[in-house]
Subunit: 281 residues, 2 copies
């Protein structure tokens, strides 16, 4: 069942991409209301015409019109925004979100109208001006039902599928454990590579020509927004720590082998296993 | 001065790309002789027509025709190949290479006809069939003169520049120290991410949809050839170790901060510095 009225609270890269894509696929069959800290800035952008209305957070009472509301803010704000809109929600309204971590948010919100979503789409950029509806097409959206009804699951799944996403259902704890390994820890490692390079005596423009494509690809995600990633790390620190410890143990093994120098073949075996796994993805 | 006859020993992705590009830019003004362990396999590929001759290593005496020979083998083979061709070289012949490490090779070869080159172009693929001359255009080529004459430096520089590369001159030790940081250690870290993920209980195809673009970019270079990387690591282990130790110290700091949980803002500062540096590249 397509929601008649969709609320988007937080009009950044992902909230904007969702609104634009919803307008593309659902045409005039959906009303889209956007809420922003800075509605004037949003309305100054030509792509804001995909919204029927762009309102400030002081006009949140208009959430009462929305059948489905997607909270599109950084993770730590999601429970706060939920609290602000809760009083205005109509009885059968559904609220979801786009947060990259799920368990702590869901526990904090602890409300049957809320069902967690994690559309796995984005970019190292941010802001409505960088919105790109194509990032949603064929991307995965994990939904993490937790005390939700079948009909809530169905509405939210169909909405994301309608945008062209592939929906996977996972328990919130399992979701957080997996993305800690496949995304969150990887971002920290990428940030750490750039950080360690920034401390090098060769981190100046005389040498930038020597920075190859491998390095640039490996550190692309270290251009991501630290504010956004702070929230993700703060709400998934235990799972991230667990993966980083395994990674560091493997790193220490390599260091010992390099230092000792007698059994460098062991590093070749690690590279072979790594390559074999990576080729499958 | 354009060499009249160019020798390419080892016809893989990079040797092949150099030959194809040399034919594109120098047209019929250059004769190109390729030497391969498996000349029949090379000659079966249509792009082998860029060579005037494709010979086996048993015909290395034909090196006597070459003004410039580029040894395009994995790093540890470079001194061995040099030794095999040395007896056939004419008196003013120049030999260079494409190895990703320079100091140990140059010391081992220790011959005034040899001048080290490191064209910083490549891909996670390998083999002549994956050759792509465009990878050379605008890419950097480091040359590392060491007891070489001005005219040798000039000939080799002009050759790489003729292919469309940007030539930088560096002492071999400095070259190795810098690329340990900007490439070799980064490859090891990327291999280690894939390796650590391969050990996870979620490393099966049920979860591959959850592996995001950030992870795929960060681990692209872990699809590189372990044989080739073994040689690079074996000839630059001390510099690599130095960078990996710094990286690990920073990683341990993050782990402590995550475990303690009280000062997560410190991680935000690291991410901000990382992003600021990465934006410059």
């Amino acid at each position: 069942v397509l929601p008649k009225t969709l609320g988007i609270t937080g009009i950044g890269l992902l909230g904007g991409s969702i609104a634009i894509r919803a307008r593309q696929v659902f045409k005039e069959n959906i009303k889209i209301i956007g809420f922003s800290r800075n509605p004037d800035k949003i309305k100054a952008l030509p792509q804001s015409k995909v919204f029927d209305e762009v309102l400030s957070y002081s006009e949140l009472s208009k959430i009462s019109e929305c059948d489905l509301t997607i909270i599109c803010t950084p993770v730590l704000l999601i429970p706060k925004v939920f609290k602000s809109i809760k009083t205005f929600l109509k009885s059968d309204a559904i609220v979801t979100d786009i947060g990259s971590t799920k368990y702590k948010i869901i526990k904090e919100i602890s409300d049957s109208s809320f069902i967690g979503s994690h559309p796995m789409a984005g970019s190292e950029k941010n802001g409505f001006e960088n919105s790109d509806p194509s990032i949603l097409i064929n991307a995965t959206c994990v939904i993490t039902p937790y005390n939700n009804s079948e009909s809530q699951v169905k509405t939210v799944s169909e909405f994301w599928e309608g945008l062209g996403m592939k929906v996977i259902k996972l328990p919130p704890e399992l979701h957080d454990e997996i993305v800690a390994q496949t995304s969150h820890s990887i971002h920290i490692i990428s940030f750490l590579i750039s950080y360690t390079l920034s401390e090098s005596k060769y981190s100046n423009e005389n040498f930038y020509n020597i920075y190859g494509k491998g390095l640039l690809d490996t550190t692309r995600i270290s251009k991501s927004d630290p504010e956004m990633w702070y929230d993700i790390i703060a709400t998934n620190n235990e799972n991230i720590l667990e993966f980083l410890e395994k990674f560091r143990t493997n790193l220490e093994n390599i260091e010992r082998t390099l230092k000792d120098g007698k059994n460098l073949e062991a590093i070749k075996k690690i590279m072979e296993k790594a390559k074999e796994f990576r080729e499958k993805l």
